[in-house]
Symmetry: C2
Subunit: 150 residues, 2 copies
C-alpha cells in the first residue's frame, strides 16, 4: 500500500493557522486592554462573564471549568484567586452537597460591568466594525459548522 509522504506545505494547515493567529492576536490585544484599563486578566473576565450570564448568576465550579476548558484543579484555583480578591464567593448547592456554586459578589459584578465597557470598545474596534452585519452572521455560521463535538 502506497502512502504519500505528508506535505508540510499542505494548504489545509494554513486554514487552521489563520484561525489560530487571528484569535491569538485578538486575545493579546483584548487581554492587554483588560489588564491596563480594567485591572483584570482575560481569564478572570471570562469566568465572571460566564457566571454573570448564567440563568441564576451562579455556576458549579466544574461547569465553569469545562466551559473554559480548564482542568478541575485549574478551575478550583481560579475560583480561589477570584474569591481571595473578593470578586466571587462559593455557596453550597442545596440539592447536591458535592457541588459548590460560584456566585458574583457586588464588587465582582461591578468589576465585570466596568470591564465589559472597555472590552466592548475593543470588540467594536477590532472585530465588529470590520465586518458588516451579514459578514458577522456568515462568520458565525461558518464557525458553527466547524465547531467540534468534544
Amino acid at each position: 500500500m502506497a502512502t504519500v509522504t505528508p506535505n508540510i506545505a499542505d494548504e489545509r494547515i494554513d486554514h487552521y493557522s489563520r484561525l489560530v493567529e487571528t484569535q491569538r492576536r485578538l486575545h493579546a490585544i483584548f487581554g492587554r486592554t483588560l489588564r491596563d484599563r480594567a485591572g483584570i486578566s482575560p481569564v478572570w473576565y471570562e469566568a465572571m462573564l460566564r457566571i454573570g450570564r448564567s440563568p441564576e448568576e451562579h455556576l458549579p465550579i466544574t461547569e465553569l471549568g469545562e466551559a473554559m476548558q480548564l482542568s478541575s484543579g485549574g478551575a478550583t484555583r481560579l475560583v480561589d484567586r477570584l474569591e481571595e480578591t473578593g470578586y466571587v464567593e462559593r455557596t453550597a448547592c442545596p440539592e447536591d452537597r458535592r457541588v459548590w456554586w460560584v456566585t458574583l459578589t457586588d464588587r465582582g459584578r461591578e468589576a465585570l460591568v466596568e470591564a465589559t465597557g472597555v472590552h466592548l470598545e475593543d470588540l467594536e474596534e477590532h472585530l465588529t466594525s470590520r465586518l458588516s452585519a451579514d459578514e458577522l452572521d456568515m462568520l458565525a455560521g461558518l464557525l458553527r459548522r466547524i465547531r467540534p463535538e468534544a
Copy 2:
C-alpha cells in the same frame, strides 16, 4: 454626559466567544492527537513547522518567538527543550553574531513530517471536510479582514 451602562449580554461579545471556543476546542483535539499519535506537543509542532516552512529552513529565535507570540525568554526555553530532545540545533548567523538560527535536525524533520501526517487527518476531519472550498475561502477572507495589526 450620559453614559449607558455596559451590557454583559451584548451580542458583540458572542461573536468573539465563538471564535475563541472554536479555536480552543480544535486546539485541544489537535493537541491530543499530536501527543498521542506523534509524541509531540502542539507548541513543538508549530515551532518545527515554522522552521521547516521557512525559506532556508532556519529562523532567528526572536523571529520564531514573535510568530508564535512568545516572550523572548519563552522562545529561548522552547528552543532549549527542542534542542535537548534532538529536534533542532542552534547555529550561528554569519552576518550578525547576536543572532542564533534555529535549524531542524534530521530527526526533527522526520518528526515534523510524521506529525504532519496525523495532523492532516485531524484537519481534514474537523475542519476542511466540514466546509466547501468556497466556504473555506470565505472564512479565510473574513479572518483576513479581522486580523489585527499588532
